[in-house]
Subunit: 317 residues, 2 copies
């Protein structure tokens, strides 16, 4: 089967693919913004590449948390895992509409489907108990204190104000993996595991419970790509790739790099920020785990990046 | 293939299956409440029946509209089609969790998957231009006037107050029908087309646009059941079935009825209310269109109803 196919790619859309810088994030803005990504990806799908598209949801889930707060006296607030699911639905709709339209313009009948995707986390994961990831907007210390309870913790932020903090555990398994596979085999482009996936834990009697956490979307994309035997993991963002000595005169974009060399740069602290760090780790995990190629590239360079001609290409040899 | 299978049912869950009477609709309440339906349906799935589960979303989408209003000065309100998609995600999660748990207790590994489902409506449908269906909460005349614009209309309600009114056009096609079929063939229980489906229209160049409308979930369920060649359409609600002379001393539950007889009662105005009317119409469309059997029954009687021993059984002969 590998020999027959044109390749299977998992593509992770982040940052500016979904909400333009400074925008509030109306549906119209999101629909319009995602057309850029769709125009880059549709030609691949039209050529027969098997495509799984995943995406971030930071600003969108932040907006839902604001709605929860502002309306909580009137209608019940939804738990964080349900909010993640809501963003899979809305962002999924936007990606689906844009990709389908581009595919139709290219004269192909390939279909696009959005699958609600849960991702298993381990209750004993140390990161499960570490309230490290800030989500939602800034509030005053007074509001933070008033709102805090067992499930809701807040932390003072650099630059002032307090934000809600949640654990960001490791993704362990994609619960809808088999269904994503079936849909890929049917010829559809599959939008899945958005926002890192709806985080669930396995409780007594094999029952799954949602948890108040967010999973890093790039780490989930790497897991998904490995489990689907993808030929490439493609992480599209608003930076041209992984850069060493970032912000210094000798800064340099890594163009083609082996996992061993990249691990070295990572250990030396070159990608310590919250954005490029997980992307590099995701790329490394995919290639170290046997994946052919991982790419980190700017959204606008997606086609060249997929062709191996832009961004940071992480390749075994 | 029909000969090999144990039967394919489309089951529509409404009303009390999802939010208990008088409850605000927290996630916990919805998760708990849906276990009743899951316990009734899981044994069928465990026996090998192919199952598509769809559901209403009235109170849930109402709550999202309230959040839109209360937060609109801070974060953008989402259009109605996106709100419907959000309810497919959250209610889908609740149904999925409950059904999977019951299936595991029964010792079967059958899986449950939630597919974001869009339903095509016709821009020339007369009902597309009729702002007839009230959604969301009651507001004052002053608020209604202030909020009204081209896309948002309000109407005075019997009993006082104003509510937003939207069109409720006919469902024309289930855009994810092929994917639902593939997933059924793979052995999964499929949760799809919740809230009547995300309403979309086809614009220029074959592009789909979301519309500010809601589609009746029972009519969508009937269309889905016909297109999937289901053996039965099962509409579960909080009434024991279709009743003639409702509220009069001679009221009578219809137990087994042909479409011709049921059309007669319908024409005589026996099911004129907003709840039973669409259910009867959906049952009629399914059986008149060639479906084997449609059932309208109380959720608590689901198993007997499926066995032909409770509710209103609409059968050709």
């Amino acid at each position: 089967m590998v020999g027959e196919r044109k390749g299977r790619y998992v593509v992770a859309l982040g940052g500016n693919a979904l909400i333009p810088p400074g925008a509030a994030g109306t549906a119209e803005e999101q629909m319009l913004q995602v057309r850029g990504a769709a125009a880059q990806l549709a030609p691949l799908a039209a050529e027969g590449v098997e495509l799984v598209v995943t995406h971030g949801n930071g600003p969108q889930v932040g907006n839902l948390l604001v709605k929860n707060e502002l309306a909580r006296a009137v209608v019940p607030a939804m738990p964080l895992d349900w909010c993640v699911a809501q963003t899979q639905a809305t962002i999924g709709l936007a990606i689906q509409a844009a990709l389908e339209w581009e595919l139709r313009r290219l004269g192909t009948g390939r279909r696009v489907v959005v699958v609600l995707t849960r991702v298993l986390v381990d209750p004993l994961d140390p990161r499960r108990l570490e309230f490290s990831k800030p989500i939602g907007g800034r509030v005053t210390e007074q509001d933070a204190t008033a709102r805090a309870d067992d499930r809701h913790r807040y932390a003072a932020q650099p630059g002032g104000g307090w934000r809600r903090v949640v654990p960001s555990p490791e993704p362990v398994a994609i619960l809808e993996e088999a269904e994503i596979r079936h849909l890929l085999d049917s010829g559809a482009v599959v939008v899945a595991a958005g926002g890192g996936g709806v985080p669930v834990e396995e409780g007594a009697e094999g029952r799954y419970f949602g948890v108040e956490a967010v999973i890093d979307k790039d780490l989930t994309a790497a897991l998904l790509a490995r489990h689907l035997d993808a030929d490439a993991l493609v992480i599209l963002t608003d930076a041209p790739g992984a850069t060493i000595n970032f912000g210094r005169p000798d800064q340099r974009l890594l163009e083609r790099v082996t996992p061993a060399i990249l691990r070295g740069f990572q250990a030396a602290g070159h990608f310590s920020d919250g954005s490029m760090g997980p992307k590099v780790e995701a790329a490394l995990r995919f290639v170290e785990g046997g994946g052919g190629r991982a790419v980190i590239a700017h959204l606008d360079d997606a086609r060249q990046a997929l062709a191996g001609e832009a961004g940071t290409q992480v390749i075994q040899k």
